[in-house]
């Protein structure tokens, strides 16, 4: 049993008057991995952004609860780690500078050991002082994992986590996901079979389209 839970109540999202999904209800209470699947353009990214509190749903709401108390929307960002292909880090800074700025802006302590551990884990330690603009797309993707994990979030949201990664990168990602799922909630939005194979539960977006 986890002390963190996530609940979606009657989520509806329309773009203008085009329906993305409707009457989406689910609750995640246990630590573990939940998958979100759906065809391209079905609204996976929209849904994960709504869960992360970045976008707002057209109606309905998402409730994040920690120790029986609802987390206020303006505090939510520090409970969430988020990785996606469309996330961009600051290219004019080095990896290390990016991470120190992020820690300060979040208002959390910069944990040197944890960052070094993560940098080693994702094979970026030697390049930590190079500008992000010199990185390959796979390295950027791995840096995003460090960005998502550095503040020890309770909820980790991964949108297509293994895009741009080679076999070695995928393995280290799967290892980390497995580790994190023991102490928190992980949500993966993906169509990759190998990604979805990790999940104990799956939300199929096609079921919430309700075409009349």
């Amino acid at each position: 049993m986890s002390n963190y839970s996530l609940q979606a109540i009657n989520l509806n999202k329309t773009f203008g008057r085009r329906l993305i999904f409707k009457d989406l209800n689910f609750k995640i209470e246990e630590n573990g991995i939940t998958g979100i699947s759906g065809a391209n353009g079905s609204g996976k990214s929209t849904l994960v952004k709504i869960l992360a509190g970045v976008n707002s749903p057209t109606s309905g709401k998402v409730i994040h609860i920690e120790n029986g108390k609802e987390i206020l929307p303006e505090k939510l960002h520090n409970y969430i780690g988020f990785v996606s292909p469309y996330l961009v880090l600051y290219e004019e800074f080095s990896a290390w500078e990016n991470l120190t700025h992020f820690a300060k802006i979040r208002g959390v302590k910069f944990n040197n050991e944890k960052i070094e551990y993560l940098l080693n884990q994702f094979l970026l330690f030697d390049r930590r002082n190079d500008y992000v603009k010199t990185y390959s797309s796979g390295m950027k993707q791995r840096l995003k994992f460090i960005f998502a994990l550095m503040h020890s979030p309770k909820l980790i949201i991964l949108d297509e986590p293994t895009s741009n990664l080679d076999a070695e990168g995928k393995d280290s990602v799967y290892k980390i996901i497995d580790e994190e799922s023991k102490s928190g909630i992980v949500i993966i939005a993906s169509n990759e079979k190998s990604d979805l194979a990790l999940c104990s539960k799956e939300i199929k977006l096609e079921e919430f389209k309700n075409h009349k």
């Binding site: 303006e74 960002h77 500078e97």
Partner: protein, 221 residues
């Protein structure tokens, strides 16, 4: 809360020092605008009220060339999602506002110094009045242009729309500040300018409260 906003400002400052995205164009803009005015004046003697007006014209257009940077740069590079994930909307707004405030103060100080050197009619006789008006005017300018910058960064069209949207909002501020600059150049005392000072102060308070409350809606997609 304020330390987070300050950290965000530091990030923007470092990034600005590295890319010089806003500063270079701002400085060049000021120089170009003032030289165009000087060329068109030639040997004419211009009045104090015209100089005070020109002073704020230069400030308005320089602000329009540089202040949208705070938000447009994030949106253009796609980093606004990152910012969403590390900071609450109020932190983002405060951080960007601090950045713009500093930028406005530096820029307008340069403009004021250049005007005092280059324009004969621009002599500040009541310096205290000028300083107070300058501070309040700059705050109003920074606040209004920050929220408008947030709006245009989320809208598709970037550069051209900025002055169009900002001008009507800034109009009462600019008209009053022109008046105040003229008064300080004429050497009027605070008693004569208290009504205008009150206006500028009210403008700052109203705009700050309004933008702070509305920023959430702009920032969240």
């Amino acid at each position: 809360m304020s330390s987070k906003a300050y950290a965000l400002y530091k990030k923007d400052l470092n990034s600005e020092l590295r890319t010089r995205y806003a500063v270079n164009s701002l400085v060049m803009f000021i120089i170009v605008a003032i030289s165009v005015i000087l060329f068109s004046i030639g040997n004419e003697k211009i009045t104090q009220s015209l100089t005070s007006g020109l002073f704020w014209v230069v400030i308005f257009f320089s602000a329009m060339s540089g202040l949208s940077r705070a938000f447009v740069a994030e949106e253009e590079r796609g980093t606004s999602l990152t910012l969403h994930l590390i900071a609450s909307p109020s932190t983002v707004f405060s951080g960007k506002l601090i950045f713009n405030l500093i930028l406005v103060f530096c820029m307008n100080t340069i403009v004021a110094v250049l005007f005092s050197i280059l324009f004969e009619a621009f002599i500040i006789r009541n310096f205290a009045l000028f300083a107070v008006a300058f501070v309040f005017g700059n705050i109003g300018l920074a606040v209004a242009s920050t929220i408008i910058a947030a709006i245009i960064s989320k809208a598709g069209a970037k550069g051209t729309l900025y002055p169009v949207l900002s001008f009507p909002i800034l109009l009462p501020l600019i008209l009053t500040c022109v008046q105040l600059t003229l008064l300080s150049n004429q050497g009027a005392d605070f008693e004569a300018a208290k009504f205008e000072l009150a206006i500028v102060f009210c403008y700052d308070v109203i705009m700050l409260t309004g933008s702070y409350m509305l920023f959430d809606f702009v920032w969240k997609d």
